[in-house]
Symmetry: C2
Subunit: 330 residues, 2 copies
């Protein structure tokens, strides 16, 4: 399901990145970084909540806006009942929509917001996402105290929060189209290979977007998946070629690989992941390049793995979903 | 944040209700009921997933539609990472948006869908929600084997699934306006009194909706909150009167009280709750009354308590949110 937009603009973004992310190649592009995963809070969950809260505050400051100027906040994260989003947003007293698409949350939020702005129902909408390496590890994998060994296909949940302000006021950065993805079941069961669960969904969404907008891979300077990692990226390339006869070329990059220096950051294994992974990359270096007209048009395809520890335990597959948003400079 | 709609219609609904719900006063209004909480599945989580899946299938059948006719499914539930929604929807291969607003999920979904239909981006959208007494008890409260004693203010999570098909094709049931609520923190910490956490949010949303649409309580035949229960209903009445000088009169009813016969169903305590609670009531008896023009205009104000067992354990408050949708007969 693909939409076109006439009047949706990016006013500004904010990025707060954690200790592993600031050791990566994008360190100079983030608005704010920090060293201690507790972020001055008593628990990791409270740290993630405060990160999301701070990213909204930072965005309001960067945009010279007050909370009263914002019509709506849309937010989501990985934790049970998206508590970092709910608790991180509450003090702003702005109408709120909670969403869940795992690591595809950010583009789902942008799609809902773009429609509300383009249909002239809202003027200013903030979309916020967060993830935290320790809250995610604790919830999805093993007690963090175990220090369990990771396989090479495992991804590393990024720590941080990122917000974007979409508006009806003209800027030179525009959201021009989007595609809502379907859930794709690739019969994947290994939580240490989520790239394989998400790559087929990314392929489905990219193919639908190209077809519905009558564009080709070459019409984009970058097609950026969210967090497929090294192995998921390769699988996506294969599926696109075998199933659709489409060559992604070097136009496709994966945010999970751009966020870190995989050669020197050994903890990262196959790449980064988490709802904050793709926005940390796109809102920092990529939108900067777009703003400066070094590149002209990108397709952001955030990718989510849909499962819970209980669904895994009950032998359900890990499902994938991907939502795409096209951003252009004018 | 309030929206008006010109061309959003209700095509049809489906309701599947569990053993406790079929003992209540609405038993004859449900499309389908069942007796065993396992619903022929091996686990309660798989039962909830299948309920959601079946409610979509039933809705398609009732509407003489195939899955290819549906542009989008929006779904959410109470479980971690909304797995009943993700797994329940996947086989339909329809574009999907996952949402989370606890028991206010259904109206959040209707608002997102109504905007997409009214702005002519989509023709047919299904919104689905589910809850299951045992999956919710297991996740939020105590191991079900404990058989823990409940306090009188505790609510009882309804079991079932419900779907609604919104469309741009004229029917005599119309969605005419909606209000997205803010998160309200009433400093409530008792998970056995969620009515108190949600009532202030319901008050805020009802007041905003009345103000923004320039309507009065008497302009509605019914103002239906989601699942405040006996004590939350009383608190809402008090807040509306003290804070806004608005008398809700007998126009306000709570779906958590309408779903069961509290005098004879002692397990239910203060009333029903869960994302399926308000749609089971509205999609059955209430929309029937509306369709038959016994009543003309209702305001459905589903109410959600935002928290997780971890947030409670870390001494965070239970937050409330409420989203409102106005339905009318033409």
């Amino acid at each position: 399901m693909t939409f076109n937009y006439e009047n949706v603009y990016i006013e500004n973004t904010s990025t707060i990145a954690g200790p592993y992310e600031k050791k990566g190649p994008l360190k100079d592009y983030f608005d704010k970084t920090f060293d201690n995963l507790y972020y001055k809070e008593k628990t990791w969950e409270k740290a993630e909540t405060r990160l999301l809260n701070d990213s909204i505050n930072l965005l309001l400051n960067k945009s010279f806006m007050r909370k009263e100027d914002i019509d709506l906040v849309i937010a989501g994260d990985l934790l049970n009942q998206i508590t970092p989003s709910c608790f991180g947003v509450k003090d702003y007293e702005i109408p709120f929509l909670g969403i869940f698409a795992a690591c595809a949350t950010v583009t789902e939020g942008m799609i809902i917001a773009s429609d509300l702005i383009d249909s002239k129902r809202a003027k200013n909408i903030i979309i916020s996402t967060s993830s935290h390496n320790m809250t995610a590890e604790k919830q999805f994998r093993n007690p963090t105290e175990y220090g369990a060994i990771k396989t090479k296909t495992a991804t590393f949940t990024a720590t941080g929060a990122a917000s974007i302000l979409l508006t009806n006021k003209k800027t030179n950065l525009k959201i021009t189209s989007s595609t809502i993805g379907k859930i794709v079941d690739y019969k994947q069961k290994d939580p240490f290979n989520m790239g394989a669960a998400m790559a087929p969904a990314a392929a489905d969404t990219i193919y639908s977007h190209l077809k519905n907008t009558k564009t080709k891979v070459e019409d984009y300077d970058l097609i950026l998946t969210g967090d497929l990692g090294k192995y998921g990226k390769k699988l996506l390339k294969e599926i696109m070629w075998k199933k659709y006869n489409i060559d992604l070329k070097n136009i496709h990059k994966d945010c999970g690989l751009l966020l870190y220096d995989l050669n020197n950051q050994k903890d990262i294994k196959a790449g980064g992941s988490g709802p904050v992974c793709s926005p940390l990359v796109v809102y920092s270096k990529i939108l900067n390049q777009l703003k400066n007209k070094e590149i002209k048009r990108i397709l952001m395809v955030s990718t989510g793995a849909l499962f819970s520890p209980i669904s895994l335990f009950q032998k359900e597959n890990i499902l994938g979903i991907a939502h795409a948003v096209c951003m252009e400079v004018e």
